[in-house]
């Protein structure tokens, strides 16, 4: 009799746990799969799906719908509305670009959906417009620039800084200057989508700087680095990791060798989760993962971890489970700040050649347990 009771209690316990895990979760992934920025979205999608695949049975009740936003805010808003109203998703994620995130996130969280950012981290969403249902698993936009500012402050005396003339570009230079206190040899603003940098390179050559900080995401960075390497100017280049991530390195080629760049993850981070991620990503997709893939992979793992602890239908419990961030992050340590943005280490990496493949190697840690400058403006506790 005693045995029977124990067995039935165990069975009951299993079935209760089973109920918690079996409550299905529907995740809507809105990301950029066409147009010039598609490489980032493809990596984010692949990283996210890989996390669910690697989680095995723990993720079997997580259903995913993926849609392409074409890097257009109006399209992203339409897709979000459709996913919320007709697909009835519980969680939205996947947006790469800050302007798209600003268009989608506030209305999605106002409709009691969860939003988990795989990349974009605009400052309003970290500060005054922060929200209990908005979690950023990547970074606050300023973070990588701040890290490079910190590194340059210790290493160089006279930096020239350059970014495109749009909100993310000015934010980048602001973030850099927040930690860089030495002399500036110049501040150059380029056009968004600019393809020819001969005029800027001539100015850099004439500036007498001892280092060059650039934030030129996507094709702009590729164009600049190729032209810079050919120009014969030998001032060392530093910048946030976006322009030197695994998705663009092959297109830049050897011109990227030696560039110091900042990121929260690199494929040589020494932990089990990261090793498994890099190995399975290569096996699955036949290429090395980028930082976007790593962030999306962590986002997937976070959802799986929260789903194991609470039902998404119980918003408060699920929110607490997300905030606990008890998942194996590929970044090693990872926790959420009061404003639901990461507290994490940010590394300085150097572009190297491993055999025939260009990749990054960590050479220093710029920040340990770094939060962001906007957390105190956020009302969340």
């Amino acid at each position: 009799m005693k045995k029977f009771l124990a067995a039935s209690v165990a069975a009951l316990a299993i079935s209760v746990a089973g109920v918690a895990a079996a409550d299905p979760i529907k995740v809507g992934v809105i990301t950029t799969l066409s147009g010039g920025g598609a490489g980032l979205g493809v990596d984010a999608r692949d990283g996210f799906l890989l996390a669910l695949k690697n989680a095995g049975d723990a993720a079997k009740d997580i259903e995913v719908v993926v849609e392409d936003d074409g890097q257009k805010p109006e399209l992203a808003v339409q897709i979000a509305d459709k996913m919320i109203q007709s697909d009835q998703v519980d969680i939205l994620t996947g947006i790469i670009w800050s302007n798209l995130a600003m268009a989608v996130v506030p209305s999605a969280v106002a409709q009691d959906k969860f939003y988990l950012s795989v990349n974009a981290g605009p400052s309003p969403l970290a500060g005054s417009q922060c929200h209990a249902n908005y979690f950023n698993v990547a970074y606050q936009n300023d973070n990588f620039h701040e890290a490079m500012g910190q590194y340059a402050n210790e290493t160089y005396k006279k930096t020239v800084i350059m970014a495109p003339n749009y909100p993310a570009g000015t934010d980048s230079l602001t973030g850099f200057k927040r930690y860089y206190k030495q002399e500036l040899a110049g501040e150059i603003y380029t056009q968004v989508g600019q393809t020819d940098y001969a005029a800027e390179i001539a100015q850099i050559r004439a500036s007498g700087a001892d280092s060059l900080f650039i934030f030129l995401p996507g094709g702009m960075g590729i164009s600049f680095m190729k032209q810079y390497a050919q120009s014969g100017v030998e001032i060392p280049v530093i910048g946030p990791g976006f322009s030197f991530s695994q998705d663009v390195l092959p297109a830049i080629g050897d011109a990227a060798l030696g560039v110091k760049n900042s990121a929260s993850w690199s494929q040589d981070v020494d932990n089990e989760a990261s090793k498994k991620f890099v190995e399975t990503f290569q096996a699955e997709y036949g290429r090395l993962p980028s930082i976007y893939a790593a962030q999306a992979y962590d986002t997937g793992s976070l959802i799986v971890s929260a789903a194991g602890k609470a039902s998404v239908k119980d918003a408060d419990a699920f929110r607490t489970a997300l905030k606990a961030a008890e998942f194996e992050s590929v970044r090693g340590k990872f926790s959420f700040n009061t404003n639901n943005h990461p507290i994490q280490d940010i590394y300085v990496r150097e572009v190297i050649k491993d055999g025939d493949v260009l990749t990054n190697k960590i050479i220093a840690t710029a920040f340990t347990d770094h939060g962001d400058a906007y957390a105190e403006q956020c009302a969340l506790k």
Binding site: G35, G36, N165, Q191, D196, A199, G219, D247, I252
Partner: protein, 307 residues
Amino acid sequence: MQTALFIEQLLNGLQLGVMLFLMAAGLTLIFGVMGLINLAHGSLYMVGAFACATVAAYTGSFWLGLIASLAAAAAAGAIIEILVIRRLYERDHLDQVLATFALILVFSEGTRWLFGSFPLYLDIPPLLQGTVPLPGGSRYQLYRLAIIGVGVAVAVGLFLLITRTRLGMRIRAGESDREMIGALGVDIRTLYTIVFALGAALAGLAGAMVGALQSVQVGMGEPALILAFVVIVIGGIGSIRGALVGAVIVGVVDTMGRFLLPQIFGLFMNASQAGIVGGALASMLIYIVMAVVLAVRPQGLFPAAKG
């Protein structure tokens, strides 16, 4: 040092202008002869760059890639002329714009389907790497000088083609009265295909040469296309000479604006502000020039002589 920097920037402007000329020449030729607005011209530029990058990666030779870019862009041009564009000559400009815009989408997604979403790698050939000294002590990149050389050669070649050859005579005749030369027994359909393929090949050549300096990726053609339209509006639609002058004006004005305006604003505001204001104004400058030209000489600087 300032003089050297100035000369360097002038060369940079010239080089940008020459690139734009290769794009604009095809665009203006097609408009002048066939009366067609071809938005897909930027896609042909992209085709050239992708063909060059693919062949160069496969064979290891940039030069074979360059030949491939000419062939691929000309072939793509001839194919779309025969399949699509041919049906548009008698339609109005709105139909042409719609159809050629659709072609942009087809080319973009087709290229992504074939090559994937990640940019391709293309480097300049070893022969043209390195820099040469400039008067004043600065150095200039050899490859950019080579681009200027190619552009000037193409301009001279086009001039000779149009003024000295039978094909050029037919092109000029087609520009002034297309019905009459059809009535005189010239095979106007073939002529149109040839002109279109020629324009496409020039765009492909531009794409391949620029591809070595830039990112070879889907959507690379459209920014170049917009500038090419500015060039032909300034130069006069349908005129090769106008395209050359317009291209050099746009190239030099754009480069000098990016170089000088932040410095001028820097005289009376702090560097950060001057960078933002100067940069913003520099990005408008060529459109301001275009607006002034449109106001003063709506037909452009060198309008094609229309019969």
